[in-house]
Subunit: 298 residues, 4 copies
């Protein structure tokens, strides 16, 4: 379709997100050979929100290993990010780690025996290490606003607790959850943090293994099938890359072996994913042939 995309509507359920200028647009691309490109507001920080679920999952798999998959599924949910219906039908086991319920279980694993403060600190250190940037921080204003209005997440967490799929107290788990969702990052920082999913699990600077190649591949697969809630099919259809969106308007996208890309534009489409961000990625992939569904260059 040729017409200019509307920008969609920024999330308005908490004041700090509603206050963001909807005209912002940023993009950053980091390639496998180490080059970085940033455009527009690519160096301005925003609330990464659900994109943090990718990093939380990565850390939690390090803690629990594949045992995690007994508590969270790997299937697209077919429903909205905060739906509770599926939980009732499937005895408190969330469909995948990228819907809210699933990320709450992942956070419960992350928390483990730690104090909430320690768990938040660990997440922060992990993301800083991935991005190679010590300036990344948690926006406490956002975290607190979430905590004050997060009734639906409280419902999800208590519901899973009723089924025995939450070990730590609901308030502590949600405290950590809201904090890692409140990570403030720029497109450049985000694209850098996602590099290990482009490289088969290795840190591109140190060469150290962040996760095994098999695990990196699986996280990419989950991003593709479940990374955009009930709009995941359409993102795969239009863009054709593993991606994870956040309600703050960011999207992290991986071109395995080639690039890690972050875009940001606060306006959301009706499924809660960045409207302009998706459009930009669609265009980029069209130009570059980077879709994983296109023939690989020989």
């Amino acid at each position: 379709m040729a017409q200019a995309p509307e920008r969609g509507v920024p999330a308005g359920y908490i004041a700090p997100l509603a206050a963001v200028d909807s005209a912002r647009f940023g993009i950053a691309i980091v390639t496998a050979d180490g080059r970085e490109f940033a455009g527009g507001d690519g160096d301005m920080t925003f609330s990464i929100q659900s994109i943090s679920k990718v990093f939380a999952l990565t850390l939690a798999l390090g803690v629990a290993g594949d045992q995690l998959w007994t508590r969270v599924g790997v299937e697209p949910s077919g429903t909205a990010f905060n739906s509770i219906v599926q939980l009732e039908h499937e005895q408190g086991i969330p469909r995948n780690p990228f819907i809210n319920a699933g990320a709450i279980v992942v956070t419960d694993v992350l928390l483990g025996r730690h104090e909430p403060r320690e768990a938040i600190g660990e997440m922060l250190r992990f993301v800083r290490m991935l991005a190679g940037d010590k300036d990344i921080f948690v926006d406490e204003t956002v975290a607190r606003a979430e905590e004050e209005t997060g009734f639906r997440n409280l419902a999800l967490a208590n519901y899973m607790r009723a089924f025995g799929n939450l070990r730590r107290p609901v308030e502590q788990v949600l405290g950590v959850y809201f904090h890692h969702c409140a990570l403030a990052m720029s497109c450049r920082q985000l694209a850098r943090a996602g590099r290990y999913l482009m490289t088969g699990g290795r840190h591109p600077e140190t060469g150290h293994s962040i996760v095994s190649a098999r695990r990196a591949r699986r996280i990419n697969a989950l991003m593709l099938t479940c990374g955009h809630y009930d709009g995941s099919g359409e993102f795969a259809f239009r863009v054709g890359l593993p991606g994870k969106s956040g309600v703050g308007g960011g999207i992290l996208t991986i071109v395995p072996g080639v690039a890690s890309i972050a875009v940001w534009s606060p306006g959301l489409n009706e499924r809660g994913n960045s409207q302009l961000g998706t459009f930009a990625l669609e265009r980029l992939v069209h130009r570059t042939g980077w879709s994983i569904f296109d023939p690989r260059p020989g």
Copy 2:
């Protein structure tokens, strides 16, 4: 059931499928440079069943273009292949073209103004052309057995008719549907027929464009997110390739730019997908690094 449990249980709802020897296993690989490998029962014909939905979709897109997407969605359903629940909640618009309801709408488009016999003939000619093999045939015994027991598909079709999402008479649409699902093909024929999805839409022998590169990419995306019903997420997680399974035990899988692969083993897992076939593909991808979620070779 006598067979080893790891092979799963063959479909038993119609006699011709139940009668198939569950010990069979076949595989065929056709690569982008034209080489062919076949192993086991790779040259034995079987009922491709739902795999035909890929070819039907391809043809129907040629008829209706992107208008088709006003009548069928592109999202994973989160439910079983023959679920009717989603249709009620979404006014007769099937979630995607690979669940039964979606493939029935696709078949309605295919039928268009033709007589059923002509539409079946067109499908047969199309698949023969794709595979470069005139011996491919429709197994009438299978088609008739489906027609005699297809009450659930009759329910789906009538339900969509009630919402106005079926144009031709239900009996005619289902007649064509059951016939294209009854295509009998070997793994080798199937892998050959799938080559246009490996090549970005071109017939590898003639070089003619079967579909545009964009359309080929999108069909691959749909196969990845929706090709295994409510087991699509797991297939992406374990195998990491666009694939479409059939209840006859076959799976067609595409490695874009690299290979078109067909496997066959009649025993199904609890979600109706070939158990041994999936396992074989998982192993193959592990060895070759062909997952689309792995770094692309530079």
Copy 3:
């Protein structure tokens, strides 16, 4: 509420119902001591539609006895009259005999080994006998119009057939179903036909037992909990009597031991029940104290 009720909208899905004058209103009351009152258009015939489900259930219980309850439930559905969702979740067993799916199973029992024509004849004779009126007839125009557009009922029937909960061919069962729903009766005839539910099962003129007292009581109970689809609770709340509505705008209501009442007004509320008819019954009960939830007169 004091404001004049709007009349609602007549059913428009088939021409013969859409053509009915929406200004019509009729009422008839037959009391236990044999008096009859009729007002407005109380002697004008209309299509009784789903009200026939009460008579069909009564006949089918005579055929199958309490075995019927292994194939149909006795619980309110919580969903619309033509919902198919519940059937999928509960393996083809309809929630109650007054939603469409349930009445189709009841009709299957009624049909038994008969030819469709015989079964329709039996229903007609039964209703004529109950009302003591040989002029009651089936409106073939209505029956035929239903058959031409009844895709949703075809879906329901085929769906239950898939679960083995329909014995006779779908077309035959629906043929009988559409015909008994097409019974044309006046309020007076309908109120007379309902007398056996007022008297504990006896024909008030002959004294013969139509059904046992226990069965009459149970049919009344089902009419109260399930007689108005997903508006049953509200009807009990506002009117407080066992009742069965039809999409033609009729309602049959029973005051056990006291009266059998029929009202008719074609305009429907948003749940498919006669708007003015319900309002009239609410007023009548308010004046008479006939609600079964009011203290019984000593």
Copy 4:
């Protein structure tokens, strides 16, 4: 489990309920002319649990009037007492005041501007007044056990809060809710407390109006259509009286104008209603002809 299966299984989710002797059975009948009959363990106290929802509703209607019905529906839910699915589909409006979600909203109304302690005190005074018995008390052990394990109710409450259908803090509302459900009463006390629903709203001793006749009738109607969760249809079918069950094994049943009846037996059927209690009521009604669906005595 050691007890005879026909008695069902007592609730085991909190220790105080699990510890009750499953062999207990009590019954009490209070008639309109003031006679009282008690049998078995009819004077032994038990946890009335959800039966308190009837008294809470009565009080809340006094506070909010018919405005209450904008926040709670009057339809049977078709689902279990603690289901959350319906809430998602219907924007946080519970189907009726007798499922948990509905009773939580009712409790929110009850709480109003009071302190939780005051609201609990008001409920206690109300029930004591109804029963004419100052010995009725709240079992703090039960209330506390509920609070410690009530994750599913926390989920329901937070979920409704997310939709704006809860005004006071979740913890306070649930605190009051768990306390009024923890009322300890004997069958005799319960039957006495229910008399106002038998008399059209008047206190049988003082003659004072507790609620209007219209409101008493409506509460009875709700008890009939919704008083036994997804077993309400069956209770109406078998017993034919307005009734409200509790997970402690009690049932309060009303014969309008005739009697108020309470039974108690801890063993529950698969839908959470007293098995032996229901059976006893079925027998009683069979002997007395008290079903509201039977002809009224002339």
